[in-house]
Amino acid sequence: MIADTFILILLVIGLLFNALGVIGLLRFPDVYTRLHASTKATTFGSIFLCLGVVVFAISQYLGTSDSQYLMVITHTIIAVFALAITNAAGSHAIARAAHRSGQKPDPAVVDKLTEAGL
């Protein structure tokens, strides 16, 4: 079936990006590059895992026309939006807190944020 292949492709993309995000979290040298790798890659990967669930629910709904699959679709999309918005805002808050606590980027030459007095 074409829906199964599509779900498999979405899940593989999601797992690949989650794995790349965690590898970046383990390998990068300082907190800002770790934040850059882990937040963006795991958000993207989790969005693709949820898209796999959405495609599965759509194919089930077209097969059975059971209304609980419509609930699955809408709630998964709400969860994806909550994940995307909160991850972006949370990673910004972590980066600002790390800068305020005195962490410098690894080979720091200029620091415009401190020069601006923020």
């Binding site: 079936m1 965690v22 882990s38 958000t43 599965f56 969860a79 305020r100 606590s101």
Partner: protein
Amino acid sequence: MDPEDSRMTDIFMIAALITVIIAFGAMVRLVLGPTNPDRVVAVDTINTLTVAVMILLGVVYQQYIFIDVAIVYALLSFVSTLYIAKHIGGEL
């Protein structure tokens, strides 16, 4: 449910297990992390992966209430991340 559906839920189960293994990789950074912001980054990553695992397991076990739990978990982990960030930045 017919056998083809159980084959699909097996695929979701495998995806959930691999995501849990990836989350254990992030836990290494949580233990090692030289500074506190590194640990907060690791916790944030584990929270994101936990939301994905909850949604996948909700499909696997046909318990679609897990997806609602995942929404609430995402919002509460956002609040806790902001609180820890305020604490690290010395603004509390």
